[in-house]
């Protein structure tokens, strides 16, 4: 294998695929990046067997071929090389990789390409298409609610499914739930109504690939999903198991509803949470008439009492939350004003943006003493 590629382009692609390199692995070859030169491009691939990222860059290929290079050294070296052309030549007898640019010559020990697992990227599967910016926002608004604990694997991911011309994404850790949907740009059977559960970690990586313009296509098959953004593909294994039937726990109607300024609500809760932070104290919301009182009590540190103007419909409210769950929701919800609905002091509450029918957040209160 022998080729010439541009340092800037190559370095960027290496950074992208490096995200999938296995940090600790029982399979040593996975600490490497698989390179394959053919026709007019160089393909780069890395995987930790949960997730794989493949990218390609234009290159002047003199001799086609493949090799596995140690990810860290190779990527760092290319990153530190001066802008301009880099020549890469591989000796297939001992898999040494030689990098050359003006006045410099480095040799790195690589490995035989046959050792690298072959990863099926589902090239010919059908896919559905979304706006990149929308998918990015959708991930931001839901992924935080996924469980971080491995104990219930299916909750460490987001459910992604097709419903009425929209793609829906849902995450829950059993304490709260975030839901978001976005309209499809194009559908060629990339997703199904029953949907798939995509690991949160993979979605965070997908979000990094997404920009503000253009589209992304998604195709989920049997046990894996592939996201394609321009020349880069991210493939991830799906989480097995049944995602909870979340619709059943979403209340159909609410006893009270208040509307208020999102930012002031957020800041108020943040301040109230501050004092009780180290003591696992709750934040209490009391709404009577047009006034919301936020209180947080910590016998050692002091007392918080803050009042906000709200529009209340229905019964007065008195409810306590783990401030973290409340704040997570307030960060996710978009728009200037939020709607906050409750079903009683111990039942689920719902939060959403006033003019945003496509997002909601359900949170369960504390039974405080």
């Amino acid at each position: 294998m022998k080729l010439i590629a541009s340092q800037e382009v190559l370095s960027e692609a290496l950074q992208t695929v490096s995200r999938a390199v296995a940090p600790r692995t029982t399979l040593p070859v996975l600490a490497g990046i698989f390179l394959k030169a053919e026709e007019d491009h160089l393909q780069l691939l890395a995987s930790d067997l949960e997730m794989a990222i493949r990218s390609r860059v234009a290159a002047d290929v003199e001799r086609a071929g493949a090799v596995v290079v140690p990810a860290r050294y190779f990527a760092e070296l290319v990153k530190r090389a001066p802008a301009g052309d880099i020549e890469i030549a591989v000796n297939p007898d001992n898999w040494t990789v030689e990098l050359q640019w003006a006045g410099a010559d480095y040799v790195i020990h690589g490995e035989a390409p046959e050792n690298y697992p072959s990863l099926p990227f589902g090239e010919d599967d059908g896919s559905c298409t979304l706006e990149q910016a929308m998918l990015k926002e959708m991930i931001r608004q839901t992924v935080f609610a996924a469980a971080t604990d491995e104990a219930r694997p299916v909750l460490t991911g987001c459910l992604m499914r097709l419903r009425n011309g929209h793609v829906e994404m849902v995450a829950t850790d059993g304490f709260r739930l975030a839901y978001r949907r976005v309209p499809l740009v194009d559908d060629d059977q990339g997703l199904t109504d029953s949907g798939v559960v995509i690991p949160a970690r993979a979605l965070q990586e997908v979000a990094r690939l997404l920009g503000d313009q253009g589209t992304v296509s998604i195709s989920a098959r049997a046990n894996q999903a592939t996201f394609t953004v321009a020349d880069t593909k991210l493939m991830t294994r799906l989480l097995e198991g049944q995602f909870p039937a979340f619709e059943k726990v979403i209340p159909g109607h609410y006893r009270s509803m208040m509307r208020l300024d999102r930012q002031r609500f957020h800041q108020g809760c943040e301040r109230a949470a501050l004092l009780g932070r180290d003591r696992g104290m709750g934040v209490r919301l009391t709404v009577q008439g047009g006034t919301l009182t936020i209180t947080g009590v910590s016998s050692e540190v002091g007392r918080v009492h803050e009042e906000l103007q709200v529009e209340l419909e229905g019964e007065a409210i008195e409810i306590t939350f783990n401030p973290r769950f409340l704040l997570d929701g307030l960060r996710a919800v978009a728009g200037e004003r939020v709607i906050f609905e409750t079903t009683g002091p111990f039942g689920p509450a719902r939060m959403r943006g006033e003019d945003d029918p496509d997002f909601y957040y359900i949170v369960l209160p504390l039974r405080a003493v």
Binding site: T25, E111, N115, S118, A151, F175, D278, L366, V369
Partner: protein
């Protein structure tokens, strides 16, 4: 012809002797093992506690003849071995001929037994070791042993028995292990008429697991099978999701005999090593088979420990078998064989800052004798003056402070802080949807015995089918830690804490266990500087910051003076 014979003295001398009847659970174990040795296909265990223990084990095995029955109650009388040669090849669970007489010596024991061909059965009644009756009775083929008034003549032992519920949990654990070892036998265990467990006895290990642990658990299991002649290992192991915070769900069997074995345990855990966090143990039911000569079962009187002639080989076999099952499950993708073996491009992981090795002798002696801070009186504001420098081994916070260097044990500190927070009734987080937990038969019994206190602590649960619980709320102090995991961890801590108490004692036990759980959840995480500062200031705010609720120290001081002296700067 008589089958049960008294062993000659030479053989008796070679048998590791010992007391076999310590608890009701050991009685159950011995009786069930006898039923298994008699090749029963159905075994029913009924226990009850009303003042004293009543234990009945009935089987449909081959029974005993009229002639043999009284001999079963003689010391060192057995049908299972006759010579030293037999002892080396023993495949039965019993062979000492001690169990029945030992049990009969401390109870009233009624033996009712019949061989399939005999026209009628025989009833033998013994109380306190004295034979009361031997008479013919009508009964079905098989054997029923009923033990009543257990320990009636050993009041000390009767008194030392831990609570009723804790004993039931122990009995459940014993029967669970034997039921797993013998999926071909239908087991049923009941306590005062209430069914605790039941297996189908269709020969399928997986079905036995389903009946004991439930379907969700079974879905997380992977089959294991590997051999290195003459050793074979097979069984089921749990995926990561089933990992528990104690080893009570690790079952090992050697030639179908439940055993404890470090060798097997190490092999198992090594295979999981990189994938499980510290303090998590894999779920496993593993069977090792080999010719009886290669394993010594005679080491421990309760027959639980074994020794292999080739320990390292067996450990390696188990490790390989488990690793293969795990890798197979994790990677649906095709991996070339060559890749598994190449040392290749792997970069060494960056090691954590290692704990300094302080030897007791020589140079190290200068710093070996550190005093824990709680011995140093009158320095109450020390904590508020500590400045964290970093984290050691993800376990200790290293600080600069008045006159020296300080180490704060993260876990102990968390435990103290949360113990104080849990005074009074802790805040309870409601769950969006109930979390189904399959704790296993023993832990289920434990939950029932502590139900009220656990509910007060925030774990509200209901029985959900025969093997499961539905959890509806959790203590808010756990943050968003996985409810199932925390709940099981709490149960296993209660189990370690031993006998079930009642009233205030029980509540304190639960509080302490909960504090330890919360601490375990929180202290496994790496901390930012800000979090270290907060942890120390929270600790400082507690009334008794120098020890955790179990009495372990939270802070260690290395005085400046000593440091100076060590570097010859004094």
């Amino acid at each position: 012809m008589r089958r049960i014979k008294v062993l000659n003295e030479d053989v008796v001398r070679h048998i590791a002797a010992g007391e076999v009847v310590e608890h009701p659970a050991s009685v159950v174990k011995e009786l069930v093992e006898n039923a298994l040795d008699a090749e029963a296909s159905r075994i029913v265990v009924e226990v009850a506690h009303r003042g004293s223990w009543t234990i009945r084990v009935s089987d449909n095995g081959w029974g005993m003849s009229e002639e043999d029955a009284p001999w079963a109650l003689e010391r060192h009388a057995t049908s299972k071995i006759a010579s030293l040669e037999d002892l080396r090849r023993v495949r039965t669970l019993g062979f000492r001929g001690e169990a029945l007489p030992s049990i009969a010596a401390v109870s009233t024991l009624e033996l009712v037994t019949r061989t399939p061909r005999a026209p009628h059965g025989t009833r033998v009644l013994v109380r306190g070791g004295r034979r009361q009756a031997v008479e013919p009775v009508g009964c079905a083929p098989g054997t029923t042993v009923t033990v009543t008034d257990l320990f009636f003549n050993v009041p000390v032992r009767a008194k030392h028995l831990s609570g009723d519920k804790a004993e039931v949990a122990r009995i459940t654990a014993v029967v669970t292990a034997l039921a797993l070892a013998n999926p071909q036998v239908a087991f049923r265990l009941s306590h005062e008429g209430r069914r605790l467990l039941e297996t189908p006895g269709n020969g399928e290990l997986l079905d036995a697991v389903i009946s004991l642990y439930g379907r969700d658990t079974a879905e997380q299991l992977l089959p294991v099978e590997e051999c290195d002649e003459p050793f074979r290992v097979r069984g089921l192991i749990g995926r990561m999701a089933l990992a528990r915070s104690d080893r009570s769900h690790q079952y090992f069997f050697v030639n179908n005999r439940p055993v404890r074995s470090r060798t097997l345990r190490t092999g198992l855990e090594q295979a999981y090593a990189t994938s499980l966090p510290r303090g998590k143990y894999p779920w496993a039911v593993l069977f090792v088979e080999c010719t009886p000569e290669l394993v010594d079962v005679n080491v421990h009187p309760a027959k639980q420990r074994v020794r292999f002639t080739a320990e390292a080989r067996v450990r390696e076999l188990v490790r390989r078998a488990v690793e293969r099952a795990l890798t197979g499950a994790r990677t649906g993708w095709e991996i070339p064989k060559s890749a598994v073996e190449t040392p290749g491009v792997a970069e060494k992981p960056v090691p954590y800052l290692p704990a300094p090795s302080v030897s007791a002798k020589g140079e190290g002696a200068h710093i070996a004798d550190l005093e824990p801070l709680w011995d140093i009186a009158g320095e109450s504001d020390v904590l508020s003056r500590l400045r964290p420098l970093g984290q050691l081994a993800r376990r200790y916070i290293v600080c600069e402070g008045p006159d020296g260097l300080y180490l704060v044990d993260q876990h102990a500190a968390h435990e103290r802080i949360h113990f104080e927070q849990l005074q009074g009734d802790p805040a309870v987080q409601e769950l969006l949807m109930p979390v189904v937990v399959e704790p296993g038969p023993e832990q289920l019994a434990l939950w029932e015995s502590h139900r009220v206190a656990l509910e007060r602590a925030g774990f509200r649960a209901e029985q959900f089918g025969p093997t499961a619980l539905a959890l509806r709320s959790v203590p808010s102090a756990l943050g968003n830690a996985e409810p199932r995991d925390a709940f099981l961890q709490l149960l296993s801590r209660l189990r370690e804490a031993g006998p079930a108490r009642t009233g205030a004692g029980e509540w304190e036990l639960v509080q302490r266990a909960l504090a330890a759980c919360v601490a375990a959840v929180k202290s496994s995480q790496p901390l930012s500087m800000e979090e270290m500062r907060r942890l120390i200031s929270s600790l400082a705010a507690t009334p008794r910051p120098w020890t955790c609720p179990h009495g372990r120290p939270t802070v260690l001081k290395l005085p400046q003076q000593r440091i100076d002296r060590y570097f010859h700067r004094s």
